[in-house]
């Protein structure tokens, strides 16, 4: 009960701050014009949903592959994978979008910007996911590796039954965070005119000159996507808990 009260109190406080900041502006609110374009918002939201879901799927594949490659014995593969991860994490997404779309995809003759957009997000997030998984794997206690050795597990068996289950559990919070990041970062695809949520909201803003009335639904729309992921991750974490 008291938890509800304190959350309510916090929201009330924030609303008060927001309200007074806005009334300090001389702003004429114009909700009707933004409402007229609700189909645009809906279409954009669905596009973002699809793009995020597909990118996430491929990002996990790419990220897992990159992590595995870093454990392989062949130096060339290890180094290629490390370079990919460091370059991708070290450069801005905007730069990568322009580079991949206008240079790489153009040279490869791939015209469909949605395909390229999903590929870019998958490659970008894959690098972050790879690092998260790597940290999870290395976080598994060394004593367990010894234990696995003692019972006669092969390296593969150790990886499969001991390391992976625990690495996934401990990576879960970071992976949920990265998923939320992917959804939000996908808004940057607007610069290559992919008609996703943010671009559509910007368009409504440009047509109706109502920034806040366009951007509040935008923030809300992203929250609907990211909040459930955080909550889901929490509940899975709790169910899989095995420490006292």
């Amino acid at each position: 009960m008291s938890r509800l009260v304190s959350i309510g109190g916090a929201i009330l406080f924030l609303s008060l701050v927001l309200y007074t900041s806005f009334s300090a502006l001389e702003y004429q609110w114009n909700w009707e014009s933004a409402l007229r374009y609700k189909k645009k918002f809906a279409d954009g939201w669905i596009a973002t949903l699809w793009i995020s879901a597909l990118s996430l799927f491929f990002a996990f594949l790419i990220g897992s592959l990159a992590t595995l490659c870093q454990r392989v014995r062949i130096p060339l593969i290890r180094h290629l994978s490390m370079i990919y991860v460091e370059l991708t994490r070290g450069t801005p997404l905007l730069v990568q979008i322009f580079f991949f779309f206008y240079v790489v995809a153009d040279a490869a003759g791939i015209q469909n910007r949605y395909v390229v957009g999903i590929a870019i997000m998958a490659i970008f997030s894959g690098a972050y996911i790879s690092e998260i998984l790597r940290a999870g794997i290395e976080g598994v206690g060394k004593s367990q590796l010894l234990s696995a050795k003692a019972i006669g597990f092969s390296e593969y068996q150790t990886f499969r039954y001991v390391i992976v289950p625990q690495a996934l559990r401990s990576s879960l919070p970071a992976l949920a965070g990265q998923t939320a990041n992917l959804i939000k970062d996908s808004s940057l695809l607007s610069v290559i005119a992919i008609s996703e949520f943010t671009l559509n909201a910007q368009e409504v803003n440009a047509i109706t000159y109502s920034s806040f009335e366009s951007f509040f639904p935008l923030a809300f729309g992203y929250l609907i996507l990211t909040l459930p992921i955080m909550r889901l991750s929490r509940s899975i974490e709790n169910r899989l808990r095995f420490e006292t």
Partner: protein, 281 residues
């Protein structure tokens, strides 16, 4: 001393007895009050704040030292001098100019903005200072020669977010797909690479973009509509509006625009003369 100390303690004790929620609200109101006091409307009236997007040569651009320069900048400076104020230029993306004007962040918009009915519902416009029209940049290959040729199913047309090209496309293109960019350079690059079939923008810019991609694009410089550019003023700011219009009349009379035309647009002037288009000012 003593009674003060006791009553102070008393107040503190009372405060701690109040329920949690009320305490939060009191703190919230306190901060809100500070907001109101802090955001006093005493703005420095010695500065004229002009908003423009500095990525539109030769009207709004920056030089090597990252200082604003261009036709609109010189106009703004002349206006500020006339009003006896210091000039400050705010570099704001085009689609954000009207919101910035409405919320009082800038005093004027001098950003090659077209006077449209819809915009006039949100802000006021001065008298026009330049006449131009939209036209189209198309790829070298292909045989489109007019906007009608372009408006086909499967065709892709690029526009810049919030411009009259964007508005025109939304209103008039029935079959082609409209792609929205916030950078003019991205849009023209896409025409050059064949990713889109056309880019709708004003004559001057289309000309300049064509020069940049002269072997991969063609410019269809016949205007598809006619527009005039004005200075944007906040609704209700009638005093400033009158001053601006006065300034524009005087500036024209004294040959200010001709000078700007010769300084920045000499090549276009010659080229358009050849093509038989009327020049802008």
């Amino acid at each position: 001393m003593q009674p003060f100390g006791e009553s102070f303690n008393g107040v503190m004790r009372l405060f701690s007895f109040l329920p949690y929620l009320s305490k939060i609200s009191i703190c919230g109101l306190g901060i809100a009050l500070m907001f109101q006091l802090g955001c006093s409307k005493e703005r420095d009236t010695q500065i004229l704040v002009v908003g423009m997007e500095l990525s539109y040569p030769p009207f709004e651009m920056t030089d090597e030292n990252n200082k604003p320069t261009g036709i609109s900048v010189e106009m703004a400076q002349a206006l500020a001098n006339r009003l006896g104020k210091n000039l400050r230029i705010e570099n704001i993306p085009f689609a954000g100019l009207i919101p910035a004007l409405k919320t009082g962040k800038i005093d004027l918009i001098i950003s090659s903005m077209t006077h449209t009915e819809e915009r006039a519902q949100s802000i006021s416009f001065s008298n026009p200072y330049l006449h131009t029209g939209l036209c189209v940049l198309v790829s070298q290959s292909g045989d489109s020669n007019s906007i009608e040729d372009i408006d086909q199913f499967g065709a892709k047309v690029a526009v810049k977010q919030g411009t009259t090209g964007h508005i025109y496309a939304n209103a008039n293109l029935k079959k082609a797909e409209i792609l929205i960019f916030d950078k003019e350079s991205a849009a023209s690059l896409e025409v050059a690479q064949g990713k889109v079939d056309a880019f709708i923008y004003d004559q001057i810019s289309i000309y300049l973009n064509w020069k940049k991609h002269s072997d991969t694009t063609r410019a269809l410089l016949n205007p598809i509509n006619s527009e005039s550019w004005s200075i944007g003023i906040r609704k209700g700011n009638d005093g400033l509006a009158t001053q601006v219009n006065q300034f524009l009349a005087d500036y024209e009379a004294s040959g200010g625009f001709d000078q700007l035309g010769d300084k920045y647009l000499s090549e276009q002037k010659a080229e358009f003369k050849k093509l038989g288009f009327p020049f802008f000012f």
